[in-house]
Each structure stands twice: as C-alpha cells, then as structure tokens.
Symmetry: D3
Subunit: 131 residues, 6 copies
Amino acid sequence: MAALGPIEYQDASPEVRAVYDDIMATRKTGSINNFWKALAHDPVTLRRTWQSIKEIMAEGTLDRVTKEMIYLAVSITNQCNYCIASHTAAARKAGMSNAMFAELMAVVGMANETNSLASGYQVEVDEQFKV
Amino acid sequence: MAALGPIEYQDASPEVRAVYDDIMATRKTGSINNFWKALAHDPVTLRRTWQSIKEIMAEGTLDRVTKEMIYLAVSITNQCNYCIASHTAAARKAGMSNAMFAELMAVVGMANETNSLASGYQVEVDEQFKV
Amino acid sequence: MAALGPIEYQDASPEVRAVYDDIMATRKTGSINNFWKALAHDPVTLRRTWQSIKEIMAEGTLDRVTKEMIYLAVSITNQCNYCIASHTAAARKAGMSNAMFAELMAVVGMANETNSLASGYQVEVDEQFKV
Amino acid sequence: MAALGPIEYQDASPEVRAVYDDIMATRKTGSINNFWKALAHDPVTLRRTWQSIKEIMAEGTLDRVTKEMIYLAVSITNQCNYCIASHTAAARKAGMSNAMFAELMAVVGMANETNSLASGYQVEVDEQFKV
Amino acid sequence: MAALGPIEYQDASPEVRAVYDDIMATRKTGSINNFWKALAHDPVTLRRTWQSIKEIMAEGTLDRVTKEMIYLAVSITNQCNYCIASHTAAARKAGMSNAMFAELMAVVGMANETNSLASGYQVEVDEQFKV
Amino acid sequence: MAALGPIEYQDASPEVRAVYDDIMATRKTGSINNFWKALAHDPVTLRRTWQSIKEIMAEGTLDRVTKEMIYLAVSITNQCNYCIASHTAAARKAGMSNAMFAELMAVVGMANETNSLASGYQVEVDEQFKV
C-alpha cells in the first residue's frame, strides 16, 4: 500500500485531537474531512496548515464565498480532483448558487484558454503593465 | 524571428478594426492591448475570443471585480506572466484594492499548497463529496 | 475503449520480453508494473524509456532515495495519480521513512505555495540571482 | 550567479563536440542552440537527450511538421518560454505556415479551456471511453 | 453531493435540445457525451463552447486527425483524465492509428521532459528566436 | 503599473522590520531577497510565510540540501522563473555541487516525461499500489 490511511478521532493523539476539535468548532460541524485525517500523520503540518487556512479563509475584505470560489478556481486549474470536490462543497456551503458556479466556470475556462493564447503568440507585456 | 509582431490599428483590415473599435467602446479606452494585436493575425480567433470574453466578463451574478480576481487566480497558477500583468491591471481598474489583492494572493497561495498536499497524501474523496 | 490494455509477459514479443527481463533483474522483483505493460505497445519507447530510467535512477552522486523523492515531488506537482502511487512505493522501497515522507510533503506544499506568491506579486529576479 | 552559462564549441570536450557535430549534421545548420550549450554541462544528459530527440523527431508515421506542432502545443500549455520560442522556429522551418499556426493556436486554446471545464464540472468518464 | 449530474435529452430545455441536436447531426452520432450533459446546466456556456469547438475542430488547413492529436497532447500535459479518455476516442475516430498514437506519445513525453530541462538550466532565448 | 514595488528596510514598518531581522539572522546574511520585499505589502502573509518556511526548511530528518533540491524540482516543474533562480542559488549555498545539480535535472526531466506517458497511456494503478 502506497499511501497512509486516515487517522480517525478515536485513534488520534491529544495533539491531533486538539486540531480536530478546533476544526469542528470553527466550521460548526461534527465530522472531519479526509484531508485532515491524512495530514494527521504529520501533526506539525496538520497544525500549521489548519492555522494558516483558518486565518486565510476567515471573513476579511473578501467575503467567505469569494474566497472559496478563488480556491476552487485554482484547484480546477491544477486538476486536483479531491480539492475540486471538497471546495465545490465548501463554496456551496458559503453561499455559491448554481448561477454563481456557472459564471465562475465560464471565467475559469476563458482564463485557461487565453493564458495559452498569450504564451503561444508570445505576447509582449504592454508598457503600461510593466512593473 | 519566432513570433508574429503586433498589428496596429492603422495597418489592420476592416474586419480587425471592427473588433478593435468594439473593444475600445466596451472598455471605454483609446488603446488596444498587445494581446489583441497579436490575435489579429487570425481575425477569426480574434473575433471569437473577444465575443466570448465580452459575454463572460460582463457584470452578471458575479460582479466585475470578482470575475477579474478569479481570472487572475488562474493566471497566477498557470505562471502566465503576460496574463498576470494585464489582469492585475484589469482587476485594479474594476475596483480591487491593495487589501483585496493581498487576501486574493493568500488564498491562491494556500490553494496551491493544499492541492499538492491532497495529491501527495493520496487523499480519498469523502463520501459526502462524491458525485 | 479508448486506451490500450496491458501486455502481459506471455503475450509479449521477444523484444518486449527482453526489456521486461532486464527490469525484473535490475529491480530484483518478479513482476512488471502496469506502466511498462502499457508502454509495451510501442517497443521503441519502452526500450528507450527503460534505458533512460535505468541510467538516471541508478545510485550516483545522489543516492536512490533522494532521487525517488525528487521524482515524487514532480509527480505530486503534476497531479499524476499513477506516478504518485508508484513512486511513493518506490521511494519507500528505497528507504523513505514516514518522517522523511512528511518532510518531503511539507517542502512540496510550501514550494507550490511560494511559486504562486512569487508569480502573483510579479517579483523581479534579484541581481545576484541573474544568469 | 545561479545558472550555468553556455558551453561554446571551442571550449567543449571531445565528447560534447561529437554531439554538437551530430546536431549540426542532422539539422543541416552551422550553429548550436543555447539549449544544447546548457545541457553540455552534463555530457551524459546531453547525449541521451539528443539521441532521444533525434530518434523521436525523425520523419515517421507522423511527418516532421506535425511532430513539431505537437511539441509546440505541449510547450505552450506548460508556459515554457524558451521552448515556445525555439519550437515555433523549428515548426516554421519544418513547414508550418501562418494559417497552420493560427489553427494550432485555436485548438490549443480550446483544449486548455475545456480541460478546466471538464474538471470543474467533475464530468464522469462515459462508459464507452472507459479503459 | 458536490457536482451537478448530467442532463439527459428528455429532461433538457428546448434551448439545450437544440445544441444536442446540432452535436449529434454534426458528429453523425445518436448519443451525447457526459461533457455536454454537464455543461447543459449553463445553456449559455453550452452553446458558446459547442459553437467554438464546432468552428475550431472543423477540417481546415489542418486536417481533423491532426487537430485531435494536438487536443490530446494538451489534455495529457494537463493531466485531465476525462479529456484524455474522450479525445483519445475522438482522435481514433478521426483516423489516428496505433502507430500514430505511439509517435504522438513519444513527442509529448519528450516535450514535457525538455520543457523542464530548459527551465531548470535557465536557458536564455537564442538571439535568432527573439521576438 | 500593475505590480507593487519592493519595500526596502528603511521604509518598512516595525512589524515588517522584525521579520526582515529574523530572516537575516536565520540565514546569516545582510540582505533581503525581492520575494520578501514584495510580500511585505501584506505583513500578515509575510510573517506567516516566513514562519512556515523557517520551520519547514530547517535541518530535520532530511538535510538542508535535500530540501532545497526538492523545492527546486517543484519550481522547475511549475516554470516559476523567480523561484528557479532563487532556489538554485539557495541549493548551491546549502551544498549542491554541479554533479548533484546535473543528476537532479536528469531526474526532474525524466519524471516530467513519464508523468505524461502514464497519463496519455491511461495506465491503471497497480493493485499493490492502491490505497
């Protein structure tokens, strides 16, 4: 077997349980996603990743649903199947409607298309966009 | 020389000029970006790409700045330098503040990190996320 | 059916069998991975790819486990599921412990994050790093 | 300085010169591209890469220009600026006209767009396409 | 459930049915792929994407099989599993033989390898390739 | 101008200076790379990213040079020019010789090649590698 299996709450160390507890409290849910159960094999990475995500994805100048849609746009571009599934769900929970998802997808598709057109045509950066 | 140079307005065919005119009218600007001047070597692709972008990037359920930020998130993930430069400018024009940009970047960075963590740990899609 | 199925040893041509034999002898194993059984549809590519991998992955200035971890880092970044599964197994066989895997993953995640931060902030290459 | 500079013919070892000579003879040219002059820092990789490319890019069932266009499509998708510049030139030398380039670019753009649409909509593989 | 299910013909709106009908007529087939059934959740994107693909993938200066092979090369590089499965089938239908597929794969593999060699060795673009 | 310029030490807030000081002390250097000077526009991201990198890149089960080579392998695969330049320098500083770099590059190139071969041939994950 190549991969490490998920670590369930009852089998977790106190250090890992503390992170699981904070995830469930912050997200107002009684379950832990497989992503965290996998990272639990490395409690240091589990803690750091959760702390970073908690800080970054909190309501800020950008609201929760906008942040989740940006997260999803990146995951789609990277073809990360797990991330697409979990962040589509997260974006919906944060308020993304079917209409918003449809517009997000149209923009993501167009951006991926024009990214390749710009590189293939070797377009020079316009003077006014230069750093 | 490997690439095709930009086609300026004065050298453009009537078909290309019509697209240039629509771009400048829609965007309320007097200049054309190098991207369009490169695509002008293929008037069919120029027209189709502009029509698609015009339709997709118009105010909809998502507002203009949200769409531009999603566009930028994709371009950053793809490491498309031209697109990053031009869509950072477009997002700013549509209202992206420094604070919004900073939050966008934090989300894009985190998404790229966790995309690789999810794939490397070979995380199974949770039952509740399955299609 | 879109893909070509695996070619088993008993069904393989002498040319393909010779490569299979060398793989099993070099790797001290009695089985052939699906990757090689798929490439066997093109004996020229099978031979060339195996010869290249055999040459490249041999103990050198870098030891076997370091090479396998680098291979894995690339495969994770590319979201290649087959390669992640097979090279995680190969890295473990070459001596990668759970602790080494955890550190590898932390570095891969951080690199993917900062790669997008560097591009999104359009960071200029420092003078001292210039070619 | 982070990168290794190019190794010119007059400074090259006999082993490297032998590869340079074969490149110039095969390609009917009197100059060596910077790509090979960089790889020359590792004569083993230089030789193996050149042998592989010579074998793969030779006229076969697919003609030279088709192969160069496929090479270019990959390079554009990967946003590899050096490769885009050099393989656009190589494809033109092999016979790619402006009209062929325009059609190539339209296909590459569309493929990159629909790749992200397929992943974002989490489309299931149709039964008839299953391996 | 994270993703939207496929919309079958009998459940589709007249607008969507019109696109389905045109797809089946153009492709001379009685069935619709899951890709279109997913896009049908956004009839505007369905129509625009189909119109673009119909225009781009039609016989032109490049023939149908060359275009499908370029499409496949991009999809492989992006690791888009759905697209690889469906466009391998499409390329075969357009005339790609096993020998052509084998040569395509060799070129795609080599391009991905040298793309990373060129970036890792930080190769400068040759003067004669400069825009 | 699309991007934010670098924030120099003398223009930095006390919060940013504290991070700069820690970077210079940890790395035993008197200068700050452009990457950090760009992130300084968002002191929260600057601090979090530096803390994470400091923790992750410290000598652990894997030594410093191995970690830097893994970082470089990811950056090359992502075609992130800034990251390639800066982490090649960092890897050299940590002890990467020309011979180690050459072997690293050979592995990175081969991994990128076989990643695309595995996806293009639609290779099924071997039973023994399944999670």
